[in-house]
């Protein structure tokens, strides 16, 4: 019998102490233990990007990170960065441009797009595609997603000038 481990971490600004099985992934932990179901489970081998979240400020695959590895970490999920208003311009862009249909990939897309815009205020379409290349969307054909990120970048640049 393998013992559960106690982990202490911060999720969307709140301190969490829980016991987890070593094999539990971070994505299953936030969804099942914490009820934060905005991050999705897709391929479970790091290809699709649906489980994207932020650990200590860096994008990670929630399916390729163990919950036990997140002991002591500062984690943000789509719920956190949506509530904080950080991605409001991106959300508006996605809505305006119809950049989602079923919505399954959208949380990962938003987190990855936010990661790009953090370092680059006016990325080219090629740079947007490059940065989002690890996030699969089966509905939109990507064109409208690139449009939405471009719009959001312009809106954010306009807002800060």
């Amino acid at each position: 019998m393998i013992a559960d481990r106690e982990i202490t971490l911060t999720v969307n600004g709140e301190r969490v102490v829980q016991r987890v099985a070593p094999r539990q992934s971070l994505i299953d932990f936030v969804r099942e233990n914490l009820g934060l179901t905005g991050s999705h489970v897709g391929c479970e081998h790091g290809v699709c990007g649906a489980c994207t979240m932020r650990v200590n400020g860096l994008l990670v695959r929630g399916c390729l990170t163990l919950a036990v590895q997140a002991d002591g970490a500062d984690i943000h999920t789509i719920e956190g960065i949506s509530d904080s208003g950080e991605i409001a311009a991106l959300q508006a862009g996605f809505l305006e441009r119809n950049a989602l249909q079923c919505g399954y990939c959208t949380p990962g897309m938003l987190l990855t797009a936010a990661d790009l815009l953090k370092d680059k205020s006016s990325p080219s379409r090629e740079e947007i595609r490059e940065h989002l290349s690890g996030n699969y969307c089966r509905c939109t054909g990507y064109q409208s997603i690139v449009d939405a990120v471009e719009d959001a970048a312009q809106a954010m640049a306009g807002g800060s000038s």
Binding site: I2, A3, R5, A21, P22, R23, S25, D28, E44, H45, G46, G49, T52, L58, L59, V60, R61, C63, L64, T65, L66, V68, Q69, T112, D115, R129, E130, H131, S133, G134, N135
Partner: protein, 288 residues
Amino acid sequence: MKPAPFDYAKPHSAEEVFALLERYGDDAHLLAGGQSLLAGLNMRLSAPAILIDITGLEPLRGIVNSNGVLRIGALTTYAQVKASAEVARAAPLLSEVIPWIAHPAIRNRGTVGGSLSHADPAAEMPACMLALEAQVEIAAKGGRRKVAAANFFRGLFETDLKPGEMLTAIEVPAIRAHYRSNFSEFARRRGDFAMSGLAAHARFDGEVLHDVRLAYCGVDTRPVRARTAEQVLEGRTLGREVLAEVKAALAQDLHPPDDLQATGEMKLHLSQVLAERVLTAMARAEGG
């Protein structure tokens, strides 16, 4: 899928790691960034009894350039390699290859040491280490040893690492005057493993090539040097005729098997196209 159950340990010293490796033997697997390991466990390709998380070992971190050698700690992530000014100066090939490897979220966790230990034949980093003639530093309970990258990769996911050993760092000779390097690959999708990839490094005396290293990934059970093609290029200037000779030589050097992505014949063709692209790009590069 979900992985089979495993136990987990996070030691904070190399001694503790070696003790755990001794105790669990083949049932243990070292965990660094986990970007290949955890994917494989999720697909139940393997089922170790325990993962030994080595990310708490601080001496395995950091990048140092001294006495003409760039030492990259095993736990250095791809993102850290890309962000390093030292790497850009001393081993520009390693900076240039990073965007070819997976995607931002994977590059934030995947490590150089992990990639080399995993030894995926289609991975980019092992081929670069062959081209740069790097040395792999390995530690075990009894001490340390170094092995040339050329002798480190033994076969399909097989390395020179022996039971109880851990890869601790990679030492890359800093780039010397007049050397240039380049990387390119063909993959089905952006960020996928290569159907064929080429890491090249060579000295340019004006337009004349010397000490050419052509290291391919994705075309064999391990990364391979194209020795005949390298010999063809020695002391020559790149041109239509020389490139034709290089392509003919590659047909002797490389014997890619058919796989799910492409036939061997197609992979050889792609490898020949890569040689032309990469060598041409190097010949056109500024100074060096």
